[in-house]
């Protein structure tokens, strides 16, 4: 009977029903679209933020056994979080005597990869090196391409009076090597005091074959939360697994550390925290917008239901006269609301999903695949909107006095 009442009441009053349906669809669509692109937005933002530089640093572990070997580097692309590794760059630092047209001076040489193709079986080929981890370097000239080419920091270049095209000699422990300068790097940091040369050449020059002093890793991570800040060594098994399987900067660091024998990995907190805070703010903003959209939809539902209710008060009065109690009246109206909101949630989901695709194509120039949880979320949002919106009208319906309304 309830179903019959509902069916007839929908079919006979299409206008108010459509109005309510529209509000619910809008609310649910906007919520779906926002939530749908918020994942994409966070991801894009995180990628964008990765250009601030590496957020994990690997150094030889303290003590005798501590070491960092260049042979282990490809393993970084095999860890659990390998897809989150945007890039990495190895470094070997050493004190050398520089010789140039301006004379001799002591300074630091850094052996590194500039943009080195990396092939790891089973993984897509990638380019690794400074180009990837430090895209903000301003280079006057170009990146080295052959083993005897090098990039010099701007400050060191000034001291040694060298420019792209000049040669510079680095000497250490009785060995010496001449590099052809192809670029001058301005970074605003300590890098400006160093000469950057191909890793293998510097390893030979310093007589440290296969050794590294540092690896900088740039990884996509999720913002730290209270759980992420817990000490992993004091976690239960399940907790540890959850922690390990969440892309916290600490758990990604842990994964890298595990494959690089003798190393110690640490998050670079000033980068990792700032990034986390920004992403969190972005998430809050999206959430706030979603809640606002839902709230305004609920208001719209409430006002159109209120109007419909005023028209229906004779009907309600009649039901009460027939002996309907508050529960039965509520059941009819909530039943209607429920049906409308389920339908609204479904349509809202479909519309929102489309909207998300359009937004992500126009704004981010990418395609989104909406996560599975979005559907129940859209339905849930519609329900919340409908229920919140029908509270006041329902209260009004229950307050109808048959005697006043049915008066002849």
């Amino acid at each position: 009977m309830l179903i019959r009442i509902l069916k007839s009441s929908f079919l006979k009053r299409p206008k108010p029903v459509l109005l309510v349906l529209l509000s619910i669809v809008m609310g649910s669509a906007v919520a779906t679209a926002f939530l749908g692109i918020s994942g994409e937005l966070s991801h894009k933002m995180a990628l964008e933020l990765r250009s601030y530089g590496a957020n994990i640093v690997l150094e030889p572990a303290a003590g005798e056994a501590g070491s960092l070997k260049s042979d282990d580097l490809p393993k970084i692309k095999t860890i659990f979080w390998k897809h989150n590794i945007v890039g990495f760059a190895p470094y070997l630092f050493g004190q050398v005597d520089f010789g140039s047209a301006a004379g001799r001076q002591r300074g630091v040489v850094a052996g590194t990869w500039f943009g080195r193709p990396l092939q790891v079986p089973g993984e897509p080929d990638s380019i690794q090196g400074v180009k990837v981890t430090a895209p903000w370097w301003e280079l006057d000239g170009r990146w080295p391409e052959t083993p005897d080419e090098a990039v010099i920091g701007a400050a060191l270049a000034k001291r040694l009076k060298v420019a792209p095209g000049s040669d510079i000699t680095a000497a250490a422990a009785g060995k010496s090597r001449t590099f052809h300068i192809v670029g001058v790097a301005s970074t605003g940091g300590f890098e400006e005091e160093q000469l950057f040369a191909p890793l293998a050449e510097v390893q030979t020059l310093l007589n440290k074959p296969g050794q590294l002093s540092r690896v900088l890793v740039s990884a996509l991570t999720v913002p730290m939360d209270d759980f992420g800040r817990k000490n992993p060594s004091r976690m239960t098994r399940e907790e540890y697994e959850k922690w390990y399987c969440t892309a916290y900067v600490t758990s990604v660091a842990k994964g890298v550390e595990e494959v690089m024998g003798g190393s110690r990995a640490k998050p670079i907190w000033q980068i990792a925290s700032a990034e986390g805070a920004l992403l969190k703010k972005l998430e809050s903003l999206m959430l706030l917008l979603t809640v606002l959209a839902l709230f305004s939809a609920a208001c719209a539902v409430s006002s159109s239901l209120m109007a419909a209710m005023a028209k229906r008060s004779p009907e309600i009065a009649l039901m009460k006269t027939m002996g309907a109690d508050r529960f039965q009246i509520a059941a009819i109206f909530l039943g209607e609301t429920l049906v409308i909101s389920l339908l609204g949630g479904l349509l809202g989901y479909l519309a929102g999903d489309r909207l998300a695709v359009v937004i992500s194509r126009t704004v981010f120039d990418s395609t989104v695949t909406s996560p599975l949880w979005l559907f129940p979320t859209a339905i849930g949002a519609a329900l919340v909107v409908a229920l919140a919106g029908s509270a006041a009208p329902l209260k009004r319906a229950l307050a109808v006095e048959p005697v006043r309304v049915l008066k002849g």
Binding site: S8, D325, R326, V403, G408
Partner: protein
């Protein structure tokens, strides 16, 4: 004499300063057909609404079938309405988007469970077996009022209340409705309290009370009882 279905003592209903119903003692025996007459504004509808549990008295007591209505909660009154009384108004208050059959079944739904066969039978009893699927807009005034009667008796109430049920009907329809009510009462033995302005309609009842300005001023027997 049969037991009383309605007993009121010093029953009063006032709206602020206006006293719509002055202290009234009324006793209606089980099975009686009582007619209430009086000028407009004399408190007839007020009394009827109190008897039907649609309104609460401001003073005195009212008991229907031994239940003191003053003690009932909001939902208790709703339960009382669905179990004990059937109400017919002057306007044929039907739900416009439901068919005649569905309108009757709705009353069943609030009472217990809808039973289509029973609802159809009720409409056949009021002579509308052929208009089951019509909506109120497609029925004449007399037919609509008969749907209301079918709806009012569907849950076998012991008390049928009518507030000028024939007020909008012509002579022929009025006679038809009154005959119908008489036949139904003869079969189901319920009591009737009916408000009317029509002397002819009053003649169908057992007893008539006359009201003026909220007071019972006169009462007469129309038939031997």
């Amino acid at each position: 004499m049969a037991a009383a279905i309605i007993e009121t003592s010093q029953l009063t209903r006032s709206y602020g300063d206006i006293c719509a119903l002055k202290p009234l003692d009324l006793c209606v025996p089980e099975g009686e057909w009582l007619t209430v007459m009086g000028h407009s504004g004399s408190g007839k509808s007020t009394l009827l609404n109190l008897l039907g549990g649609l309104d609460r008295p401001t003073g005195g007591s009212i008991s229907v079938r031994g239940t003191d209505l003053a003690t009932l909660s909001e939902d208790g009154l709703a339960r009382f309405r669905r179990d004990c009384v059937g109400i017919i108004f002057q306007q044929h208050h039907l739900i416009p988007y439901l068919t005649a059959l569905e309108n009757v079944m709705m009353s069943q739904y609030f009472h217990s469970v809808p039973d289509e066969a029973e609802a159809r039978h009720a409409l056949e009893r009021v002579g509308l077996g052929h208009r089951l699927k019509n909506r109120p807009g497609e029925l004449s005034g007399g037919e609509q009022q008969r749907v209301c009667i079918a709806r009012a008796i569907i849950n076998s109430p012991r008390l049928l209340l009518g507030d000028e049920p024939t007020g909008n009907l012509d002579h022929k329809s009025t006679t038809m409705v009154m005959e119908l009510l008489r036949d139904l009462r003869d079969e189901d033995r319920f009591s009737i309290v009916m408000v009317t302005h029509n002397q002819e309609v009053a003649a169908w009842g057992d007893r008539t009370i006359h009201m003026d300005d909220g007071c019972l001023v006169r009462e007469e027997r129309t038939k031997g009882c």
